[in-house]
Symmetry: C2
Subunit: 237 residues, 2 copies
Amino acid sequence: MQVTLQSLASAPVPTLMRRSPSRSTGAEFLDRSLSSGQTRLYAAKQHLFCEGDPASEFFMIEAGNVCIYSVLPDGRRQVIDFAYPGDVVGLGADGEHTRNAEAMAATRVRCLPTATIEAAVCRDPRLGLKLYEAVSRQLGDARHRLMSMGRCDAAERLAGFLLALLRRGKRATAAGREIVLPMTRSDIADYLGLTTETVSRTFTRFRQEGLITIDQGILIAIRDLPALQRLADGEHR
Amino acid sequence: MQVTLQSLASAPVPTLMRRSPSRSTGAEFLDRSLSSGQTRLYAAKQHLFCEGDPASEFFMIEAGNVCIYSVLPDGRRQVIDFAYPGDVVGLGADGEHTRNAEAMAATRVRCLPTATIEAAVCRDPRLGLKLYEAVSRQLGDARHRLMSMGRCDAAERLAGFLLALLRRGKRATAAGREIVLPMTRSDIADYLGLTTETVSRTFTRFRQEGLITIDQGILIAIRDLPALQRLADGEHR
DNA sequence: CGCAATATTGAGTTGGTTCAAACTACGTGG
DNA sequence: CCACGTAGTTTGAACCAACTCAATATTGCG
């Protein structure tokens, strides 16, 4: 059974979770501060915005998933980020968007005009700080991924990816060690800078080595967290 | 002849350049806003900060170059960014620094306490916006590099790197098509996610194909800008 | 059920790495 | 001023992780 746009429209806003004791996501704050924004719905594969579009608004995801990506002229694609409920996308653009944002599933967003940012910041300087912190967090993530892409092999990248998903999932559901992948192998491959074949083979190897189990291709259960952690941290060589 | 710490100490602050018509660096603004900071000098290979250090201050580079990098337990290194005069490093850290920052040459910085940021933002909300914009620019750079690392081959990465250096150099010196590399092949390799050997071979290939000339290994002259541009933009396949 | 999209597995190829050796630039001290 | 030593760079040859191309197997949906 699939989540439809209709069901999304009426569903309640999920409670936003704290991400860490030391640092909030900023999302709940932005939520309050810029709550004037209107709600909008996207079907799977619809775009929130494309490269070159005027960056007149940014978005807070309330339900669903969004994929931020770039494409080269010959079609090579790099997924820059996956965004989940509570995440903000489209921040930091100056004038126009520089990447594409596509809903991976039926998605509901709060959509916020960029034009009001400056005024809002002047009314409440703490908002400026929150924007700074929200973008700083995204910067930290991107830079962490640079290390992964530049210096880690396929197994290390995939392990890091699974653990990041697990951490995110835990905040939302408190579920132990299971992950439901909301994206295809091809999305994962384009995120990790690999091919679908390599992602698939690495999943298989993880399964054979008892690190995970896989159900229906999309339900992953972590069986050996420490081993995955060592892989992700580059401590196995 | 080498630049010494002594000569740096007395040299004037270089005029900060605009980066683009549409968007200033924020550096000149931060410069004014937080000019209370003290000047500090670092010799080549000295660290401004290390991973885990309390992030009690951030830095604006006035002269020299700084290399931001991470290291895995087994020694694999990823250069996250090179920073040049006018750039800000150490922003966006929450509590403690998450990477290392090392002076590549004798370097003079303005050093600014993070503790005063919040207060300063409350006094002048526009400062919060500037911090947001400064970090947003770094985020854009990091994400651009994700595409390069994930989907581009050695030639495309090196071409993109040279052109980025050229753009930066033009702002500072208005020099036509020459670049003086302030970093070693090994720094470049760790920045691009390659090995020194591959970087060296790719330089040689560029030279043989008439794209560049190389003097003393560090003075690069661009001979065929359009070809390099096509390479960097992934338009050659 | 049957189709279309996605995922897995296999076999062969390759771009970049690894290991090793030679070369160059440059600062130091005789 | 030159010989020497060190650090960095270039080049060569063998190797390998991930890619490409191709076939088969799932999954989910009408």
